[in-house]
């Protein structure tokens, strides 16, 4: 039984395979996105979140600072409630504005945070006061049409 011959070759094979997997995890993928639940939770209410999904990024100045964890509907105010987790090394002031933006023209939606000047920082579980909802294409179009119609009343005999 040529044990030793097989062992070496198989060991090498497994090593190469595992190395390839590590390569994939580190150099190909974004390991930073593999967050382990560290960080603190924040909440924000929106009139409309558009196409925002769970695990969508939370960015500030274009840098990913967290992830959306949960999306729900407030049963009384009928507002969308978004809970997201911010990585522990970032801090935002109490008057931070959260907006729902779109990546590029047709890209995925994400939460953009703009920090304000308040010296007090948001803590775990805090709710953001100011929010800006997503821009819904249909509403934009109907707005546009209405404004066009309002501009030209003389046309109506």
């Amino acid at each position: 039984m040529n044990r030793s011959k097989f062992d070496v070759a198989v060991g090498l094979f497994v090593a190469i395979g595992l190395l390839a997997m590590v390569f994939m995890a580190l150099k190909v993928g974004n390991l930073a996105s593999f967050d382990n639940g560290a960080g603190y939770a924040l909440e924000a209410h929106f009139d409309n979140i558009g196409g925002l999904k769970i695990r969508a990024p939370v960015k500030s100045a274009g840098v990913v600072v967290g992830r959306v964890e949960a999306v729900g509907l407030d049963a009384e105010t009928y507002e969308a409630v978004v809970r997201f987790r911010i990585y522990p090394n970032y801090r935002f002031s109490k008057d931070t504005i959260a907006s729902i933006l779109t990546s590029g023209l047709l890209g995925e939606q994400y939460v953009g945070l703009e920090s304000g000047g308040d010296p007090v920082y948001l803590g775990n579980g805090d709710r953001l006061g100011k929010t800006q909802s997503a821009m819904i294409l249909e509403k934009l179009i109907s707005q546009f049409l209405f404004s066009k119609a309002a501009e030209t009343p003389a046309k109506v005999p």
Partner: protein, 265 residues
Amino acid sequence: MRTTIYAFFEAIGHFFTSRLDQLGLAARFTGSLLLVLWVAIRRTGLIIRELYFSGVRSLLIIAVSGLFVGMVLAVQGYEVLQRYGSAESLGVIVALSLVRELGPVVTALLFAGRASSAVTAEIGLMRATEQLAAMDMMAVDPLSRVIAPRFLAAVVSMPLLAAIFTTAGIFGAWIIGVQLIGIDDGAFWSQMQASVDVRVDVLGGLLKSVVFGTAVGLISVFEGYFAAPTAEGIASATTRTVVTSSLAVLLLDLVLTIMMFRGLS
């Protein structure tokens, strides 16, 4: 006229009942195999031996194929992307295609053709020459000594090989895209890293290959075990392994892709 119609329906019915028959047989076989897995797993020496024959021996074809597939992806991808001025996203396209789909699927198809067919032939031959019966008579369960190690080797080899395929592919794409065509090296990698998610894409792809490994491993071992003990029987069993494995991989890929990646769009 009536007899022809009757015969026609009889043929259809027979087709399905014989398939169902086979399915029942396959289910029982799988059950017995799963039961002995606990024992078989401890025979690491046997598993290592099979890992050598199925995995190590497939290394070359997988790596080379991966390299070429990656290169082709780069060429085709660049041709399309540069029309829209998005040539720098080449890394993204290549990486996602390989990690999510081509890595697991093509690897599984190549493995089915190279390693699994050999396993089927080997087991079929052992049955034809009564080696399995002899083992059984010596109170050694052929399921745990012959069948299980080959099955486990397939399950373990597949994700490793898929990772190697994908890595070779990305390397190939890098050679074509960055070195030959001249895309920016930094953009190639950074855009890739921004779009490939470790949990969903990388792990999802690896999960796929484990599933494929299980399916292909089962099929190859099943066909070999129940092959007719003639030259023709073994030959047709080997062909069946390749065909059934390929179809199974593609079907499972469809199901898994829908399950895993539907939520992203």
